[in-house]
C-alpha cells in the first residue's frame, strides 16, 4: 500500500476503492458523522462528515480517496459549521434528552458534546410526531428520528428484510414502516434484528432495557465519540 492522501497535514494511506472516511478511520483519524456506519452502503445525507478536499466541500463517507487529495478535517470553521448542522437536527426533531432512554448512549448527543454544542441556536420546529409502541419488543419515537436511514439500510443489507423506509419530501420527511397498517407490530421486525439496534438516537428503542446502565457508566459519560467510534468502526473496517 503506497498511495496516500493528506488529512490535516498527516499522510493517510488508502487503497483504491476506499472512501476518505474509510481511509481515515483505518488510520485512526475521526471524522464526525451520524448517518454513516461502515457495515452499510454510505448514504451521505447528514453532512457532518463534510471535509475540504483541495478546498472543496465533500462528504467523506461517499467521496473516493484519490492520490493528490489534501484534506482538512478538524478546523475551527468546519467544526463550527458541523455544530450548526447538529443544531439543525436538534431543532427539527423534539430531542428532550433528560426524558430519553438513549441519553448517555446517544450518538447525536455525543456528536454535540464533541463539537462543544451547548444550545440549539435556531428556533425550534416543535413538530407533532408520533410514537409507535405497537410492537411487543421495539418502539419508535418519531420525535427523535434524524432520517439517517441506518435502520433502513440495516434491515435491507443485514437482516435481509425491508422493514423501514423514509417517505415524504423536504421537511415533511418521515420514517415509515413496511406493513399494511403502517405499524411496527405488523411488520416482520424481530427484536434481534440489526435494524432494531442500529439507531444512533433514541428513535428506535428496545423495550424494557431503558436506564439499565447507571449514570456514570454510560458510553459517553466519560469517553468522547471519536475514541468510541474509532474503536468500533476501525475494527469493523478490518473485518
Amino acid at each position: 500500500m503506497n498511495k496516500s492522501i493528506v488529512i490535516d497535514g498527516k499522510n493517510i494511506p488508502f487503497e483504491d476503492g476506499q472512501t476518505i472516511m474509510q481511509a481515515a478511520t483505518a488510520a485512526g483519524v475521526y471524522i464526525p458523522h451520524l448517518c454513516h456506519n461502515p457495515k452499510f452502503t454510505p448514504h451521505g445525507s447528514c453532512k457532518l462528515c463534510t471535509v475540504k478536499v483541495n478546498g472543496r466541500n465533500c462528504s467523506a463517507c461517499t467521496f473516493p480517496a484519490a492520490e493528490g487529495q489534501t484534506i482538512t478535517n478538524i478546523t475551527q470553521e468546519l467544526n463550527d459549521d458541523r455544530e450548526k448542522i447538529t443544531q439543525m437536527l436538534f431543532v427539527e426533531g423534539n430531542h428532550f434528552c433528560p426524558s430519553c432512554e438513549k441519553t448517555g448512549n446517544c450518538n447525536l448527543q455525543a456528536v454535540a458534546y464533541h463539537l462543544g454544542m451547548t444550545d440549539n441556536h435556531f428556533p425550534h420546529f416543535f413538530e407533532n410526531r408520533e410514537v409507535d409502541a405497537s410492537h411487543p419488543d421495539v418502539m419508535i419515537d418519531h420525535n427523535r428520528c434524524i432520517f439517517c436511514t441506518l435502520c433502513v439500510r440495516a434491515s435491507q443489507q443485514e437482516d435481509g428484510k425491508n422493514v423501514f423506509s423514509i417517505s415524504g419530501r423536504g421537511i415533511e420527511k418521515r420514517l415509515v414502516v413496511n406493513s399494511e397498517s403502517g405499524l411496527l407490530k405488523d411488520s416482520d421486525l424481530d427484536v434481534n434484528d440489526c435494524a432494531a439496534h442500529i439507531c444512533p438516537t433514541g428513535a428506535i428503542l428496545i423495550k424494557r432495557t431503558g436506564y439499565k446502565v447507571p449514570i456514570g457508566q454510560r458510553i459517553y459519560d466519560h469517553s468522547h465519540i471519536d475514541t468510541i467510534t474509532l474503536a468500533a468502526e476501525g475494527a469493523s473496517h478490518d473485518e
Binding site: 436538534f90 423534539n94 430531542h95 428532550f96 434528552c97 433528560p98 426524558s99 430519553c100 441519553t103 448517555g104 448527543q109 454535540a112 458534546y113 462543544g116 451547548t118 444550545d119 440549539n120 441556536h121 428556533p123 425550534h124 416543535f126 413538530e127 407533532n128 410526531r129 420525535n143 449514570i215 459519560d221 466519560h222 468522547h224
Partner: protein, 181 residues
C-alpha cells in the same frame, strides 16, 4: 477579581427549581462565592425585582406564560450577562413536551374534562398569567449570552462558569461538565 461584588440575579420560569437546588449543591463553596458575589433578585433572597445594575442573570426554565415573558424581559433589561441554565431554559425541556398537544386540549384535560375534576372551569382570574400556546426556550424570546446545559447542570458547572467569569476568563466547560441530561 475586583473588590466590588458582582451582582447575580436568578429566577426559575417554567422549570422545577432543580437547577436552583443544584446551585445550592455548591455547599461550602457558596461561602467562597458570596465573598465575590452579591445576590440580587432570586428565590434565594426573596428580592422581588432586579436592580438595574445586575451583572449576571441566571435563568432556569423555559417560557410558558405571559408572566415568564415579563420576568425574562426584566432580567434582560437589568443584567449585563444573561445565562440560560438547564435543559428547559435551553430547549423548553420537560414542559415543552406539552407542545405536541394543543393548548385547548391541555386546558380542557386539566380543568374541564379530566378525571377527578370538580367544579370544571378554566381559571380566569386577571391575576393569573395566561399560557402561551407553546413553551419556548429562552433564546427564542430574548438574546441569551451563555448556555449551561444539564438537567440540572451540576454544581461544578455553576462553579466553573462563575469562577471563569469572575476571573475575567471566557467561560469554558470541560467534556465531563457538558451533558444534556
Amino acid at each position: 477579581m475586583t473588590n466590588k461584588k458582582v451582582k447575580v440575579a436568578t429566577v426559575s420560569l417554567a422549570g422545577c427549581f432543580g437547577c436552583h437546588m443544584s446551585f445550592l449543591d455548591l455547599d461550602e463553596r457558596l461561602v467562597e462565592l458570596v465573598e465575590h458575589v452579591e445576590f440580587d433578585r432570586s428565590p434565594l433572597t426573596d428580592i422581588e425585582h432586579c436592580s438595574s445594575d445586575c451583572d449576571i442573570g441566571l435563568i432556569e426554565g423555559g417560557v410558558c406564560n405571559s408572566e415568564n415573558v415579563h420576568v425574562l424581559r426584566e432580567f434582560r433589561k437589568n443584567c449585563k450577562i444573561l445565562v440560560a441554565v438547564g435543559a428547559c431554559a435551553i430547549n423548553g425541556g420537560l414542559p415543552a413536551m406539552r407542545n405536541h398537544i394543543s393548548l385547548e386540549d391541555c386546558l380542557n384535560e386539566a380543568y374541564v374534562s379530566g378525571v377527578g375534576v370538580e367544579n370544571p372551569q378554566i381559571p380566569n382570574d386577571v391575576e393569573l398569567p395566561l399560557l402561551l400556546d407553546k413553551v419556548h426556550p429562552l433564546h427564542e424570546v430574548v438574546k441569551i449570552d451563555y448556555f449551561l446545559p444539564g438537567c440540572p447542570p451540576s454544581a461544578d458547572v455553576f462553579w466553573k462558569f462563575l469562577t471563569d467569569l469572575l476571573a475575567g476568563r471566557e467561560p469554558s466547560l470541560s467534556y465531563e461538565l457538558v451533558h444534556f441530561d
